[in-house]
Amino acid sequence: AQSVTQLDSHVSVSEGTPVLLRCNYSSSYSPSLFWYVQHPNKGLQLLLKYTSAATLVKGINGFEAEFKKSETSFHLTKPSAHMSDAAEYFCVVSDNSGGYQKVTFGTGTKLQVIP
């Protein structure tokens, strides 16, 4: 079975402080994991992806995520939040379930950055 859980629907941080957006997944196969960002009234933008290479993945805009198989987690972090980071973030799991590709989106986490 494939699923993804984003533990926080809303996260609020002050500008300049660290960001942590949590994601846990389950997959019966070797999954690929992604984080997408969606700014208001905009499409999906790929932040970073994990595809069975290095477990610490660096993405755009200073974001990074660490794949932890033992914890089935893929949390998104950034050392210092910027006002432009305010958006909704989606964790996505993808695997080849039953021989064809299956993708599941998390419910999203809205990040608020306070000046």
Binding site: T51, S94, T104
Partner: protein
Amino acid sequence: EPEVTQTPSHQVTQMGQEVILRCVPISNHLYFYWYRQILGQKVEFLVSFYNNEISEKSEIFDDQFSVERPDGSNFTLKIRSTKLEDSAMYFCASSEQESKNIQYFGAGTRLSVL
């Protein structure tokens, strides 16, 4: 970097009308997908397409929906008779043969049914 492009960015239509949403996948990709996101809800899988046929579809993808790759570059989603509840953001994605797990998404088309 190559990207998936979708047109139009915003489509407004009257209930009962047919709409066609267009996507140009990345050129060497062979797998194509449509997703939708109703406002305030999660992104949902609609359909996947490979080798000129549907490989998988969700419960949402009923007889009102169809997909086509008419000319080797475009990948279209048609809704025959739109309903109010079809209002959503529709995302197209594509992936290549060797890395099927990695889907590249377009920026989406916002469909508003009045």
